[in-house]
């Protein structure tokens, strides 16, 4: 019996555009197991980003339920959602989304700061994680002083520094050249091998090939749930 980390039931997301309504997600039912490496694929406008935002607790569904580790997060208040984002979810974005005026150590410390961890401890923890992704010698560098691949590694370090239940990656290789892209994918594979749950949105079949399961989403609907 596999441990279900994420379960959605009849998940809907409808954007009210005034005159007409746009359905971004339509009755999405998914189950994601602990330790899975899942790729979500779909063309642009298919609703995969919306699904990602809801799974990442950045957005709330219009209908249905989202259960993360036995908690019904679709019913949580904004303040509680912030705590979930901080503790349970690690985000990796296509555009890295690092704070440009902070050095990478401070960037990685951010989630720890919002968990109320003392400055000394978070420095120690962030330094350790940055060493793990091979940036131990760049702690005081600003993101602008790093290459795209290095920046994405900083973003991954930030995502995993709080030991979240799931790691969500939204086209993490989309802005990278092939070499750095495979570096990053290898890091995700390593994270998966260490037992982390990784959910990655992509439209690149090669990237999806690293995953052990792929689900396709078209027009807000899940079309299949193959196990790769």
């Amino acid at each position: 019996m596999q441990d279900v980390v994420i379960k959605t039931v009849n998940l809907d997301k409808v954007y009210d555009m005034g005159k007409h309504k746009v359905t971004a997600l339509d009755n999405v039912d998914i189950e994601i197991y602990r330790g899975e490496f899942l790729a979500i694929m779909g063309p642009s406008g298919s609703g995969k980003s919306t699904l990602m935002h809801i799974l990442g607790c950045l957005d709330t569904p219009s209908g249905g339920d989202y259960i993360l580790e036995d908690h019904k997060v679709s019913k949580l208040k904004k303040r509680q959602l912030a705590a979930v984002r901080n503790q349970k979810i690690g985000f990796v974005f296509q555009t890295f989304n690092l704070l440009p005026h902070l050095n990478i150590l401070k960037n990685v410390e951010l989630p720890l700061m919002y968990s109320g961890i003392s400055p000394a401890k978070r420095k120690e923890r962030a330094t350790y994680i940055l060493e793990q992704v091979g940036l131990g010698d760049r702690l005081r560098h600003k993101p602008s002083e790093l290459s795209g691949g290095q920046r994405q590694r900083v973003a991954i370090a930030r995502a995993i520094v709080n030991e979240p239940a799931i790691i969500l990656a939204d086209e993490p290789t989309g802005n990278l050249d092939t070499n750095s892209g495979s570096d990053i994918l290898n890091i995700f594979s390593e994270l998966h091998d260490k037992g982390n749950t990784v959910i990655m949105v992509t439209h690149d079949p090669r990237v999806a090939g690293k995953a052990n399961r792929i689900i396709h989403i078209i027009d807000g609907k899940i079309t299949d749930g193959d196990i790769a």
């Binding site: 904004k78 985000f91 690092l98 005026h101 951010l110 109320g116």
Partner: protein
């Protein structure tokens, strides 16, 4: 779970540091507002102090004066002065007063001479209480006593300027001078009165006129010198300010009775004079308050604007912070702290600026200024409040951003 205030201050300081020019401009705006508050409050304090000091020099808040009523023009046959018996009667009717002093006409100078020296002092007939009411004493010898009054003694107490003009360095006590063609023995010299004048026109001593006065027993003046010397004024002094108004009403009633209902005399209190002068400065104060208020308001609006612009520029950062777990309150505090820090620095800078230009402003408009610690604290608190008030709206705006939209913001 929440990020601590100390943490917010550190984040705020580094944010401000990363936008130096913008920070300096904002700090300057608030500094100018605070500076004007410091200057205005100091000026107002200075004016109040000068007025108070002046009135204190004139006998303090417990003094009442009775004068001829110059505005009363209806025809009547009442006497316009007091005779000695009347004064004694009035005195017996107001036993609650501490001091009582009628004065003879003060407005004429009489020639006085000693040993070839000549001077024209204003010589006034008084009661012994005069010195007590004016809170003025002799520097040498003694003042007029009840014995002098009862015995019609030909004694005189001279002012410090009169002493210098007539005697130079000579000791005047016991010497005889001629005033109003009569020989008086000098029994005392009054202390020199001094108060720095507000105006540079003329003498720098606002009280110099008092130093030319000479004082003789009122009884002597009435009996021996000038039968027609009229007493049109007397002063009384009570112990407590609370007694002033009741006594004023009582005196007015007595005086009306003595003159068959004609208001020949008016009673004026220093207390009311103080209140009147405070009233006079109220418009002056209000205008200055409005001006410095407006300058702070402008500073505040500038801050709101700059913070709104800053937040718009940093929308994506706010999204990133939210994605990594910042609560709305964390974002709110982050920006509010930045605004308050800005106005706090502005406030401190403004206080320093204000104090440093105070002397020059005071010299320029020729007024006294008073600066105290309370004022500095008030100005600093006001500037911090401006930060709080004008920082709330941008901070709320920032904290209400939608994480998804904020992350997508380009």
């Amino acid at each position: 779970m929440a990020i601590s205030l100390k943490e917010s201050v550190i984040v705020g300081l580094s944010d401000l540091w990363s936008r130096k020019v913008r920070t300096i401009v904002t700090v300057l705006g608030i500094a100018l507002g605070t500076m004007s508050i410091i200057v205005v409050l100091s000026l107002i304090k200075g004016v109040n102090k000068t007025t108070e000091q002046w009135l204190q020099e004139r006998g303090g808040a417990t003094k009442l004066s009775v004068h001829r009523n110059g505005e009363y023009s209806k025809p009547h046959h009442e006497r316009r002065h007091f005779d000695f018996k009347e004064l004694r009667l009035i005195q017996s009717l107001i036993p609650e007063v501490e001091y009582f002093n009628p004065s003879s006409n003060q407005w004429t100078s009489h020639r006085a001479y000693y040993n070839g020296n000549e001077y024209w002092p204003q010589t006034v007939g008084v009661f012994p209480d005069f010195a007590n009411i004016e809170e003025w004493s002799v520097s040498k010898g003694r003042f007029i006593s009840d014995f002098d009054l009862d015995a019609y003694n030909d004694v005189i107490v001279i002012g410090s300027t009169a002493k210098t003009k007539l005697f130079g360095n000579e000791d005047p006590i016991g010497k005889y001078i001629y005033v109003m063609d009569r020989k008086f023995q000098v029994i005392g010299v009054m202390k020199r009165r001094y108060m720095k004048a507000r105006s540079e026109i003329g003498d720098d001593n606002a009280l110099e006129y008092l130093n030319s006065y000479c004082f003789v027993p009122l009884s002597t003046v009435l009996k021996k010198i000038s039968n027609d010397e009229r007493i049109q004024t007397f002063d009384v002094k009570v112990r407590y300010v609370s007694e002033v108004i009741p006594l004023k009403e009582k005196l007015e009633a007595i005086l009306l009775n003595l003159r068959h209902g004609h208001p020949i005399f008016v009673v004026e209190s220093t207390k009311e004079e103080i209140e009147r002068s405070m009233q006079d400065t109220i418009i002056f104060k209000a205008i200055f308050f409005i001006i410095s208020g407006i300058s702070l308001l402008v500073g505040g609006i500038v801050i709101t604007n700059i913070m709104l612009a800053t937040i718009q520029e940093r929308t994506r950062e706010i999204g990133i912070r939210m994605a990594t777990g910042a609560r709305r309150f964390d974002i709110f505090i982050q920006f509010l702290v930045q605004t308050v820090l800005t106005t706090f620095f502005g406030g401190i800078f403004g206080v320093v600026l204000g104090i440093s230009i105070l002397d020059k402003v005071a010299a320029f408009i020729n007024m006294e200024v008073v600066i105290d610690v309370n004022l500095i604290i008030t100005a600093t608190i006001i500037s911090i409040s401006v930060g709080l008030i004008f920082g709330i709206y941008p901070a709320v705006n920032a904290s209400n951003l939608d994480p998804v939209k904020a992350l997508r913001y380009e």
